[in-house]
């Protein structure tokens, strides 16, 4: 009796044969001890391979998958939104608006500094003018300033202080003396003394 091809026996063991072929091999195995030995060897190999145990997923596997998918979906949503031309126009308009608002905010916060600087700068000629006349030693810049502002000239810081000192309400200090905060001001004491 001729033995079967090993490939045919392999296909039989792993159920790769069609009905008629399978019956032929089964019939042959009943009569052939050598082929039965070959089939037993294949089963043995199968059992040895079963010893290689699979690796289990880590405990955080599901969480990682979900987080990755969520991140990908967010990215896809943004990309999908920007794919529309009108969406791109809206995004550009929003960006431009944000830029303008930011610019305005910066401008407004810098504005007081810019208005006081010219005042301080304009003090310089006023300080230097009396330099033509001999200056007393130790004379300060403030002392050398003119007492009154010339017409057409921007008011100096000292002028502004003077203006506030002469406000009408401060004249009526009797009325304001009841306010504790104001009474603590040195200026207030000065007024009372006056």
């Amino acid at each position: 009796m001729n033995c079967m091809e090993r490939e045919q026996l392999f296909a039989y063991v792993h159920r790769m044969l069609e009905g008629r072929e399978e019956e032929t091999v089964r019939g042959h195995l009943e009569e052939c001890a050598h082929c039965r030995g070959a089939v037993a060897e294949l089963h043995k190999l199968d059992a040895v391979l079963d010893e290689w145990k699979p690796r289990e997923p880590s405990a955080w596997f599901d969480a990682r998958v979900k987080a990755t998918i969520a991140a990908a979906e967010r990215q896809k949503a943004v990309q999908g939104f920007l794919a529309w031309p009108w969406a791109r126009a809206i995004a550009a308009a929003v960006a431009l608006l944000a830029l303008i608002v930011a610019g305005l905010l910066v401008f407004r916060t810098r504005e007081p500094i810019e208005t006081t600087r010219p005042l301080a700068q304009k003090e310089q000629p006023a300080v230097q003018q009396p330099a033509e006349t001999p200056k007393a030693p130790g004379q300060t810049v403030a002392q050398s300033q003119p007492a009154a502002t010339q017409p057409g000239q921007a008011p100096s810081v000292e002028d502004e202080i003077t203006m506030y000192e002469n406000l009408g309400i401060l004249e009526d200090y009797e009325l304001l003396a009841g306010f504790d905060v104001l009474s603590e001001l040195p200026m207030g004491e000065k007024k009372v003394a006056n």
Partner: protein
Amino acid sequence: MAIDRDLELMLAVRRGDASSFEELLHRYRGPLVGYFSRMLRDPAMAEDLAQETFMRVYQARERYEPDAKFTTWLYRIATNLALNALRDRKEVTPPFEQDFEGEASEPRDASRIPDARPTAEQALMESERQRIIRQAVESLPERQRAAVVLHKYQDVDYRQIAKVLGVSESAVKSMLFRAYEALRLRLEPLLEEGRL
């Protein structure tokens, strides 16, 4: 029936049902991590690729058509990722010889097998017998290895494997026979021990 349940779940995922995706994740996370760890050995890469497979399944949910088993589709994605990872790894190591069928054949020198050393964790975990089996499977050419791992460990039949690998059924039968014969020769010492 398990197959029908997979299809039901995947169709529900296509409709946007998140809980169905979670069930698929629960059903196939173990098999996929096992598949990649047997194909690549590196545990971290196995998890990364299993994760990538699930992400691709989710992203392709709207294109899913139930014209084949869910597992065929799933393992086609997984096998492509595994074979690409093996190719990427091989780029930094000497290439295997190509046989007449275009498949990678065994390396001439065992020391040229990429990443042949087990990690410290693996050394602790696996027994000597498991190590011999692993090395025997890893010595197979990539596509033969994929066919054997799918057939033996993932319970994928040869018709499905043909679809996964994009070859004919007869080619898969032949591929599996050659792979199992190579394993039988390599594992002869274990087969003769009679400890089974």
